[in-house]
């Protein structure tokens, strides 16, 4: 953008800042327990999460049960991003005016210290990721966090030891795994649809539990789906960004 415009762009920015400062007066005081946000919809979540949705962690209850449709959308956003990266960078033919890209990060940093340290860390990272998913109902965490940590662990392997060493995952396979993960989510919803309930209503699941416990299992299934999808897509994006996606 030429300097002329960027100098003028101060005007709307300043105006925006003043407007934002001005309206801050009308907001409820931070921490006010009587603010509309804290008194209208959310009390029900706090009171019912454990008894009705089976999860003491209210964030997980809202995420995987009350607003599970949003979370389905969120997982689809991730999948879209993975497919988008594949369309943009993967499997496209290099034309004559696009030179060979020498700077691919397929080698890894390779120092012995890094290698030894990461060998120590990675099993714990992976274990922790699984713990985070399974215990998402009673402590902070859930499918998305677990998937992100798991993917970060795998990325650590690739960064230190090179792409060939850490769980080789071809781009096409990663997409299929991600779709399978989301399909677990979607399938759970469709199952309740087929059994005559509403989409994603976990009360319909054919398991020998009732009430909160049944819903807890429903949302756990869904979280596992999210975990698989998130791990696969984050790895896919990482691979595409570092080395392109060779056929």
């Amino acid at each position: 953008m030429p300097g002329f415009i960027s100098r003028l762009s101060w005007v709307p920015l300043l105006a925006a800042l003043l407007v934002l400062f001005y309206v801050a007066r009308d907001f409820p005081r931070m921490g006010d327990p009587e603010s509309p946000a804290s008194t209208h919809v959310s009390p029900r979540y706090i009171e019912d999460s454990e008894s009705k949705a089976g999860a003491p962690n209210m964030v997980t209850a809202v995420l995987a049960d009350y607003r599970s449709y949003d979370t389905l959308g969120e997982t689809v956003v991730i999948l879209t991003a993975g497919l988008a990266c594949l369309l943009v960078l993967g499997s496209f033919r290099r034309t004559r005016d696009e030179p060979e890209d020498a700077k691919l990060m397929v080698q890894g940093f390779g120092s012995d210290v890094l290698d030894a340290t990461s060998r120590l860390l990675i099993p714990f990272i992976v274990l922790f990721a699984v713990y985070v998913v399974v215990h998402g109902h009673t402590s902070p965490g859930g499918g998305f966090q677990g998937g992100a940590i798991f993917a970060a662990g795998l990325m650590l392997v690739r960064l230190t030891r090179g792409k060939a060493k850490g769980l080789r995952l071809r781009a096409g396979v990663a997409v299929i795994i991600a779709c399978a993960g989301i399909f677990i989510y979607l399938g759970t919803g469709l199952l309740s649809l087929i059994r005559g309930y509403q989409f994603l209503d976990y009360a319909a699941l054919p398991l020998p539990y009732e009430g909160g416990h049944l819903r807890e299992f429903g949302s756990l299934t869904v979280e596992v789906g999210v975990f698989i999808a998130v791990t696969a897509v984050l790895m896919l994006i990482f691979d595409v960004l570092t080395s392109g996606a060779e056929e």
Binding site: H40, Y45, L79, A84, L186, G189, F199
Partner: protein, 486 residues
């Protein structure tokens, strides 16, 4: 099954998008067509349900709103959702020959993202929850970036800019929703509408303005249209017809829904709506003027879209029943005719390889059906009866007179005249001029029509333009008027 139709409108394309990779990227086109036809079927059946028995509310996960998320299919959202799926079916049919030379995986990925785009757009239309709308807005935007970026290196630069501006828009929208949440404590549209304070609080005005800014960027309203011309000009043939036809319109629809179903149209904040009105008047004129200056047909259509989005926004801003009828009718009509124009022009480009107005000389002899469809849609854009475009402009003009804003009427008439100039220029070249400078010596008069799978959607859309015009009265009384806010 049928009581689940509202959610199946969205789930059909979503399942299709997941199935294509799961089947190893095979059968991309077949799965896409099947899932989109299913989506159209469910869309039409829930529309019929809402017309006969009132709005359909579907509570997801079995939680009643405002605690859970609900899907609302009333006559308005039913019409728009069916429009989106119908255009998607035709565009999927049209895209076939373009993708013939692609690798299996790339074509499969393309179709999968295309299904995701449709599910994102449909999700925006049918949701009854403000935050859920944001999620689907992001799905549709991300998949649109991906699809538009397949058009070559210039398109990638345009798409990067679109991505930045689009994310700013989404952030503005989300901040506006945050302000509303701070005021009311709910995200459900109907519940929020009941709980919003009825006086002019500053927060309310600012929240409404942020939502208007965010969605107006996505709808490419004039001063915020920067991303659109380049993104559409360099867009790849198989999708530009669909994206240009419905994407901006879905954002305009979302804006309409929030302004008239969440905010109280009488007691709510007026200032953002006033601003919207004047911005759209300028958009109507400026879009047409800029279209006039273009030598590239695709770019000309892109600028003309900016003007046409101004029409829709103008109707929303005036807000009388007549104006809203015109706006909704123009959403339908413009989607059909712009889809037809973009598909016809890209067909010409694909077959003959030309985009400039001058190179269209003698094109009517070579591609008679395509150019015939182009002409019908162009006449409709200009607003000649009995094509569809005439009637939506007629309603908007009546509304402008009724509201006493004669400058609005003046802008409408001026833009129609300008539209006549720039469209007749293309038609003149195609029908009357012969090729002065024959590039391919003997190919000049040879008839080489498009493949059937491309020609059928183009001609079907042109026929739809005429049908929408001829049966305009039925469309308005049966579909548009029941969807007006009470």
């Amino acid at each position: 099954m049928m009581e689940n139709a509202p959610v199946l409108i969205l789930l059909a394309p979503l399942t299709g998008a997941l199935l294509i990779p799961l089947l190893g990227f095979r059968f991309g086109r077949a799965v896409t067509m099947a899932s989109l036809v299913a989506s159209l079927f469910f869309g039409l059946s829930s529309l019929a349900q809402s017309l006969s028995a009132g709005p359909v509310h579907y509570h997801l996960a079995g939680w009643s709103p405002p605690w859970g998320i609900e899907i609302v299919v009333d006559p308005l959202s039913g019409v728009v959702a069916s429009l989106v799926s119908a255009m998607a079916v035709l565009a999927a049919m049209y895209s076939g020959p373009f993708l013939a030379g692609w690798t299996r995986r790339r074509a499969g990925t393309f179709y999968s993202v295309y299904c995701l785009l449709v599910s994102g757009l449909v999700g925006i239309v049918i949701t009854g929850d403000l935050f859920n709308l944001y999620v689907f807005l992001e799905i549709s935007s991300l998949s649109a970036y991906a699809l538009l970026s397949t058009g070559g290196s210039r398109s990638i630069v345009a798409v990067f800019r679109y991505l930045l501006i689009g994310t700013v828009a989404a952030s503005f929208y989300l901040l506006g929703v945050g302000y509303l949440y701070a005021m009311t404590g709910t995200l459900n549209m109907a519940d929020m509408s009941a709980r919003l304070p009825n006086d002019d609080v500053a927060v309310l005005v600012v929240a409404a303005s942020f939502i208007v800014i965010g969605l107006a960027i996505k709808a490419a309203l004039f001063p915020l249209h920067g991303w659109l011309p380049d993104a559409y000009t360099y867009a790849p043939g198989p999708v530009v017809g669909f994206i240009a036809a419905v994407m901006a319109k879905v954002s305009a629809y979302a804006l309409y829904r929030i302004l008239y179903y969440v905010f109280d149209p009488v007691g709510g904040p007026r200032q953002p709506i006033e601003l919207l009105g004047w911005a759209s008047v300028i958009a109507v004129v400026a879009g047409s003027l800029m279209a006039l200056a273009q030598k590239d047909v695709q770019r000309m259509l892109a600028y003309s879209s900016i003007g046409q989005m101004g029409y829709i926004m103008l109707g929303i801003a005036i807000g009388s029943p007549l104006a809203l009828t015109g706006a909704v009718l123009h959403v339908i009509n413009h989607a059909v005719m712009k889809g037809c124009l973009f598909m016809a022009v890209n067909g010409v480009q694909w077959k003959v390889g030309v985009f400039r107005v001058r190179e269209f000389a003698g094109m009517a002899k070579r591609l008679p059906w395509t150019m015939g469809a182009f002409t019908v849609a162009a006449l409709s854009m200009v607003g000649l009866p009995p094509t569809a475009g005439f009637f939506s402009k007629y309603y908007l003009a009546l509304a402008a007179i009724e509201s006493g804003h004669l400058s609005f009427l003046f802008a409408l008439v001026l833009s129609s005249l300008l539209g006549a100039v720039y469209f007749f220029r293309v038609i003149e070249y195609a029908y009357l001029k012969t090729n002065d400078e024959p590039i391919e010596a003997d190919a000049g008069t040879e008839v080489r029509e498009l493949d059937a799978s491309m020609l059928v959607p183009v001609v079907a859309l042109a026929a739809l333009v005429l049908l929408l015009g001829i049966f305009n009265q039925t469309v308005v009384t049966m579909l548009v008027v029941p969807g007006l806010p009470s």
